[in-house]
Symmetry: C2
C-alpha cells in the first residue's frame, strides 16, 4: 500500500539536486501495481449504476442530497481490448444518458438556457484541444487556439454596447459568474477602498466576489418587482461619501427578471455628490444584457454612459452546449489587473488562464447566422410568449407577475416537488419561475399549464391546502391567494 | 441612435412598479433597426479575414500583439437564407480553420497538453446544453447535467490520492487555475490571517490568487532544478510563527517540471514548530499530479499526509478538447466556503456557479478506457521519450536538463522566434522547454531535433552569435555554452 519507499533516502539528493542521480535510479521505472487500494469498505459491481452509499453522511454535512447516482470509473480487464466488452458497456451507458438528456431537455422551463441550437457543422472541431491561453488580443506561442473567432465575437458585443474597438478589452468567459467576478475585481483594483453596493436580489456570485476579494459590501433594498430601490441606495451612499462606490447593476435579476434602472442609478450617484471618477459600475447582463438592446423603451446599456464593465452569459439567450459568457470592460481599467507573464508570451488579465477555445466558435457561429435582426425576432417572440403564459396563469386563478422588460414569469410555487422537478422549475420561498426562452413554444407552455391546472385541482381538493400567498414576494396586485384575489 | 427614449417618463412607474403599466406600453414592441451603428471609422469587408486596425494602439497598452487576425461577425443579408451564401461562407471559414488546427496540432511540443484523443463516441452529446450548476453532490432542479459522470471521476481521483469517499469534496473545474484559486481560497477561509508561502517558480495563478484574495504572500527561493528550497522556507516560516502558514506545493512547476518535496515541506513545518492545525497545504498537481503516482520513488501525494487540497488539470495528461481540471479537498474544509443558495437547490462551494457538463464526460470516458494501468504505460513512455530527447540534445552539444521525476525537457532557447513559434515552444529568459506528452513520439522528436540542429548551425555559422549560457537557469552541469562545456 505504501509506495513512498525511498523518500527519506531521496532527501539529500533533492537538497543538492544538481548532483548526479544515484546510480541505481531508473526514472522510467514504474510501480508494480498501479491500481490504488480501495480506501472504502463498500463493494461495488462493475457496470452497475449504483447509489452513493455515503449519501446519508453527505446529507448531514452538505444539505439536501437528492438521489445522486454515480457512474463509477472501473479498471479495464486485461482482455477488454480483445473482447470489446468495455466499448459495448460504455456505448450502452452513453446511449441511456443521451435518452435521458432528450427527455430532460424536453421538459425544461425553469432556467434561462436556450436549448435550441444545432452545431452539427462544428462537430469536426471536437477532435482538437483548443485553448485560448491568456489575453485574447495577444497571441501566445500555443497555436491551437481560436482567438480570431473570440475577437470577432467581442467586437460584435462592443458594437452592441457602444464602445470603440480600440477602447475596450474583454474575453469569452466560462460563465456569467466569471464575468461578474472579473467586473467586480476590476472595480476593486480601480478603487481599492471602494464599497460594493448591490441590491439584495442580486445573483449570489456578486456576494461571493465580495467575500473572495475582502470587500465591504452593502445590500440595497428592492421594490417588490425586484428592482433596486434608489431611495435606499441614495441613503446608503450618502452615509459613505468618503469612500468610492463600486456598484453592481442587474440587467435582469435571477429570480424575477427585474432590470435595475441604470440611468436612475447614475443620477442617484451624481445627486449624492459622486463625481464620475469616484464610482465604478458593473452591469450584470446575465440573460437580459443581450435581450434589452432589442426592446423599445428599455434603459440602454451603453459605454457612452459612465459604466466600467458589462458581462452577459453566452449559453443563455444565444444557446451553447456548455456555459460561457462575454465580459467587456474599458481598456484603461484592465491595465491595473494585467501582469506580464513571459511564459505564455501573453499578459494575463483574465480570471482563468486556460480558456475553452470551443465556446467562442459556438458563439461566432450563432451570431453570424442570426445577426442582430435574428436576435430581435427571437426577443420579440419570447416577450410575446411570456405575456401569454402570465395571462393564462392569471386566467386560471394562479398569482403571477411579469416585469415589463422581462421574459421571466414569476408565479406561486407548485405544492408538489415532483412536478417542480419534472419541469425543472427554479424556486425560492413561495415563488417559482419560468424563463421563456426561444425554445419555449406556445405548445410547450400549454402542456405545462394544462398539467399544472390538473395538479392544482388535486392539491387543493380536500381543502387542507391553500394557494400560497405571494404578495410579499411580488406585491398584492400580482397575488391571487384567498386574501388578495 | 438613441433608443432610450422614455426612460425619464418610466422612472415614476419604476419607483411604484406594481402599478398598472401605462396604457400605451407594448412590451413586445421592438426597435425598428436593431443593428447598432458602427462605432469606429474603419470600413470592413464581409468575408475577408482582416487584420485588427487598432493593433498599434493595443501594442502600446497591452504589450506584444502578434498579428491577430480576427474573423468578423457580419450581419446576414435579408436573402441569405434563400441563397445559402452565408452557410457556404461559414463552411469555408470552418474548413480553413480545421486545416490550420491540424497543422498546428502536428507541430506542437511546448505545452503540456495531450493532443491525442478520440472522443467520436461523444459527438452525439454536443447537441445538449449540459450544465453542472453548483455542487456536484447535490442535485439541482436543472435536469440536463452530468453529475453522475462527474462524481465517478472524482471518486477515481479520490482513490488515487487516498481519501475516503465520505471525507472528500471536490468538483471538475474549468482549468488548473480554477483548482488553484479554489485551493488557496479554502486555505484562506480556514486560516483568515494565514500567510501564503510558495516558491518563486510557482505558476502565476497562485500569485494571482494572493492578489485577488488580499493575502500576504512570501516567495520562497528555489534550487536551480526549480524545486523549493526548504532552508529558505524554514527561515521564512520561522520569522512568522505567530501566523498560520498556507503553503502551495508544486507537483511539477510550469517551466522546469520540478516537483517540490511534499514530505520535506511537511517536516520543515513541523520542525519550525507548526502543529498540523496551524498550516494548510495545497498541492498544485497541474500536470504531474496524475503522472507521479505511477513513478517509483516519487514522493507520494496522499491525503494520508496533512494536506488540505490537490488540484490537477484534466486537459493535460488525460487530454480533452477544452481545458478542465479536478479539485479535491477535505469535506470538513469546504463547509467554511459553502453558502446555501435556494435558487439552485444547491450549495455553492465552487468558484464558478455554472460548470461545463461535457468535461466530466470526456474525463470519465478516458479514465474508463485507460484505467490506472493504461496511465502507467503512458507515463512510462513519456519518461522514456523525455530521456531520449534530453540525451539527444546533449549529444548534439545543446545544454539541456531533465528533472528526475519529470517529462519536461529544458534546453537553451532557440535564437529564432519563427522556429519557436513553429514548434510552439514555451520560453522564459534563456530557456525553452518541450513537455513530452503521450502524443509526442520518437519520430516527432527526431524531426524536431533534426530541424533544430540544422537551424542551429546556421545561427552560429558566422560566429556573431553564440550558444546561450543557461547555467543560471538550470545549473552549470546542464549548460553546454562556451564557458561551461
Amino acid at each position: 500500500m505504501d509506495r513512498s519507499v525511498g523518500i527519506v533516502a531521496d532527501e539529500s539528493s533533492i537538497m543538492k539536486a544538481v548532483e548526479p542521480l544515484p546510480e541505481d535510479f531508473d526514472p522510467t521505472a514504474v510501480i508494480k501495481d498501479p491500481v490504488p487500494p480501495v480506501v472504502e469498505n463498500n463493494g461495488s459491481v462493475r457496470g452497475v449504476t449504483k447509489m452513493r452509499e455515503d449519501k446519508s453522511k453527505r446529507e448531514i454535512v452538505l444539505g439536501r442530497n437528492v438521489h445522486t447516482s454515480c457512474l463509477e470509473v472501473t479498471e479495464p480487464d486485461a482482455d477488454d481490448e480483445m473482447t470489446g466488452d468495455r466499448d459495448a458497456y460504455m456505448a450502452s451507458v452513453l446511449a441511456r444518458y443521451r435518452k435521458s438528456l432528450m427527455e430532460r431537455t424536453k421538459h425544461h422551463l425553469g432556467y434561462p438556457y436556450n436549448l435550441d441550437f444545432d452545431y452539427g457543422a462544428l462537430a469536426q472541431l471536437q477532435h482538437f484541444s483548443i485553448n485560448n491561453l491568456g489575453d485574447p488580443f495577444i497571441e501566445s506561442n500555443y497555436g491551437v487556439h481560436s482567438r480570431q473567432f473570440e475577437v470577432g465575437v467581442l467586437d460584435w458585443f462592443a458594437r452592441l454596447w457602444e464602445i470603440e474597438k480600440n477602447e475596450y478589452w474583454g474575453y469569452i468567459t466560462n460563465c456569467g459568474t466569471e464575468g461578474n467576478l472579473h467586473g467586480i475585481l476590476v472595480g476593486r483594483e480601480v478603487f481599492p477602498d471602494g464599497i460594493l453596493y448591490t441590491s439584495r436580489e442580486t445573483h449570489y456570485s456578486i456576494f461571493k466576489a465580495a467575500r473572495m476579494y475582502r470587500m465591504e459590501c452593502m445590500k440595497v433594498d428592492t421594490h417588490c418587482t425586484g428592482e433596486i430601490d434608489c431611495d435606499d441606495f441614495k441613503a446608503k451612499i450618502s452615509r459613505n461619501k468618503d469612500k468610492p462606490a463600486i456598484v453592481n447593476v442587474n440587467i435582469g435579476t435571477t429570480v424575477k427578471g427585474a432590470v435595475d434602472d441604470l440611468d436612475l442609478v447614475i443620477k442617484t450617484l451624481e445627486e449624492a455628490g459622486f463625481s464620475h471618477n469616484r464610482f465604478y459600475i458593473h452591469c450584470d447582463g446575465a440573460l437580459f444584457g443581450l435581450m434589452m438592446p432589442f426592446v423599445k423603451r428599455a434603459p440602454k446599456v451603453s459605454f457612452k454612459k459612465p459604466i466600467g464593465s458589462v458581462s452577459v452569459s453566452g449559453h443563455k439567450f444565444v444557446g451553447c452546449p456548455m456555459p460561457c459568457g462575454v465580459q467587456i470592460t474599458r481598456l484603461e481599467h484592465v491595465n491595473v489587473l494585467s501582469r506580464n507573464v513571459e511564459y505564455l508570451a501573453s499578459r494575463d488579465a483574465t480570471i482563468m488562464g486556460s480558456r475553452n477555445g470551443h465556446a467562442p466558435i459556438f458563439l461566432w457561429y450563432t451570431l453570424n447566422r442570426k445577426g442582430y435582426r435574428g436576435f430581435q425576432k427571437e426577443v420579440q417572440k419570447c416577450l410575446r410568449n411570456a405575456h401569454y403564459l402570465k395571462d393564462r396563469l392569471r386566467d386560471s386563478g394562479i398569482g403571477a407577475m411579469l416585469n415589463e422588460l422581462s421574459s421571466t414569469v414569476v408565479f406561486e410555487r407548485p405544492h408538489d416537488e415532483e412536478f417542480t422537478r419534472r419541469w425543472q422549475l427554479a424556486c425560492q420561498g413561495n415563488i417559482a419561475h419560468v424563463v421563456v426562452m426561444p425554445n419555449i413554444t406556445i405548445e410547450k407552455l400549454d402542456k405545462f399549464l394544462e398539467e399544472l391546472v390538473v395538479k392544482r385541482a388535486k392539491w387543493f381538493e380536500d381543502g387542507n391546502c391553500q394557494p400560497r400567498c405571494i404578495a410579499s414576494d411580488v406585491g398584492e396586485s400580482s397575488c391571487l391567494c384567498a386574501l388578495h384575489k
